[in-house]
Amino acid sequence: MITPAARPEPHCGHDTWYPLAARITNVVQENFNTRTITLEMVDQAQRNDYQWRPGQFNMLYVPSVGEAAISISSDSDKPQVLEHTIRTVGSVTRAIEHMPVGSVVGLRGPFGEGWPIEAIEGKDVVMMCGGIGLAPLRPMVYWLLNHREMCRRVVLLYGCRTPEDRLYADELEQWHEDPRIDVLVTVDNATSQWVGPVGVVTNLLRRIKVSARETVVMVCGPRILNRVGAWSFLQLHVPPEQVYVSLERNMNCGFGRCGHCQYGPKFVCRDGPVFRYSDIHDIFAKEEV
């Protein structure tokens, strides 16, 4: 019998379909259908070896239910602590929703290319996200705060439906107080306690000053936000080479082999999920590509 613990270290040639066992060590309910689970590899050696970059994702596996692609949402400088923020939408995420602390899930990854850490040096960084789209950007926020000297201004624009739907609400408050980062949150529907802005997230652009040439933009949200968000920065004359968008597709293998996540010439799992706008501009506006 071979246990995955005994399998060789990931390198060219091993069979990538075997999931690694990871145990759920903590669960935080973010809103009515979204939870953040903390995972750690059951195997100590695997735990120590696991490295990843902000924006990458894992395939989480529940035996006999299936796999789902979930981005890693914790701090990449502490790579052993793996947080995944999961909204319940399908059978795998529903199965994970029912799992208590101590349960074991399968994990393959990390996959994808992640956010362009190299591109931000000496630039302003503006992150725009909506709903669950904050989860893939959270590691980027951590990274920027950890390496604050790398770039100039850091702005996070976040939109969600109601104040109750905000992910990482406590952390957003903390970041709000933090002088190193500007956080603006807007909601579609305000409650009586809400004193912040109301409306779509692109409206927040009126509240900040974007020095177009010197700004790197990262957008992550539902499809409509990706489009409108990216375009609104282009209208502000941010060069298309400095606009990055994180896309969502159906994924099955994670390494560009199964064909599901193709986006024009790209495999979203392998070449993305983060794309530079200038690399995909010819298909970005097209439907059903």
């Binding site: 006999s64 239910v65 299936g66 399908g90 059978s91 795998v92 529903r94 199965a95 029912h98």
Partner: protein, 274 residues
């Protein structure tokens, strides 16, 4: 289709399965019984609470999974299905009769009273509806299993997936994909047979093409079937008549859209030609 998690229970309370029969031939229930190797495993995982074809003992409702075979053809059945829906948490129709009305739905295009007079000496004692209709016409159905009869593997997959809480691995794509995975040469291309495979849902394991025969669509229409294009090919290149087309489409699933619409189209064409 959303799958409810019907079974997050303790070991002691196995989910209860009920199997019902309406107007049908019992073939789909037999498919369940024909799962000889796995039947004991199923019995180990679910409690067969109501299944008159398999056991006399019955337990009172409610049931977790209800499987319904057959179409609604009599006033009594139209009443009973409502009670079945109330009794079952998760209702699955099994087979062509339950999902499309079945072969008996052919009477929907004819005069039932006339039929009765031909067949029965005393038609006044026969209480039947004008039409034979699928279960989903009457009550909400959670999942449909196609086929005449249903495929035993699919039946097993459905039960297993409900137990495990996963989306049933029951595809809606064309039969061709299953057929080609088996490596069967296309009977339409290599023999000029009038095959309905390209518009029929997979699931049978390509039984007929495996026996060198054309698919006759007993699994009903696939997702987004291109009826026009296949019809054009069959009536054009293969020179099938409108009458043949109508008969091909009006089989087990003739009353299911878009087979129904297409067969009506060929019926009109047939009349025009006459």
């Amino acid at each position: 289709m959303p799958v409810q998690t019907i079974t997050r229970k303790t070991e002691t309370a196995k989910p209860k399965l009920a199997v019902y029969k309406f107007s049908s031939c019992d073939g789909c229930q037999l498919s369940l019984l024909n799962l000889e190797d796995e039947l004991l495993d199923i019995v180990g995982a679910v409690e067969i609470a109501y299944f008159l074809e398999a056991r006399r003992a019955e337990q009172p409702p409610p049931y977790d999974i209800g499987m319904v075979e057959g179409s609604i053809s009599t006033p009594e059945e139209a009443e009973r299905i409502r009670q079945v829906r109330r009794d079952c948490k998760y209702l699955v129709t099994i087979g062509a009769c339950a999902t499309s009305g079945g072969i008996q739905a052919l009477r929907n295009w004819a005069d039932v009273d006339q039929y009765k007079q031909y067949v029965y000496a005393h038609p006044q004692y026969v209480a039947s509806l004008e039409t034979a209709t699928p279960i989903a016409t009457h009550v909400f159905v959670d999942f449909e299993l196609r086929g005449c009869p249903v495929n035993a593997r699919q039946l097993l997959e459905l039960i297993t997936s409900l137990l495990k809480g996963r989306k049933p691995n029951i595809p809606n794509y064309s039969l061709c994909i299953e057929c080609k995975r088996r490596g069967l040469p296309c009977v339409m291309v290599s023999k000029g047979e009038p095959c309905l495979g390209p518009i029929t849902q997979a699931g049978c394991g390509a039984l007929c093409p495996g026996c060198h025969r054309a698919c006759y669509g007993c699994f009903g229409p696939m997702e987004q079937p291109n009826m026009d294009s296949l019809g054009h090919q069959l009536t054009g290149t293969q020179k099938r008549t409108a009458r043949e087309m109508k008969h091909m489409l009006r089989m087990f699933n003739g009353y299911l859209e878009p087979f129904k619409q297409a067969s009506d189209h060929y019926e009109r064409q047939e009349k025009q030609n006459a």
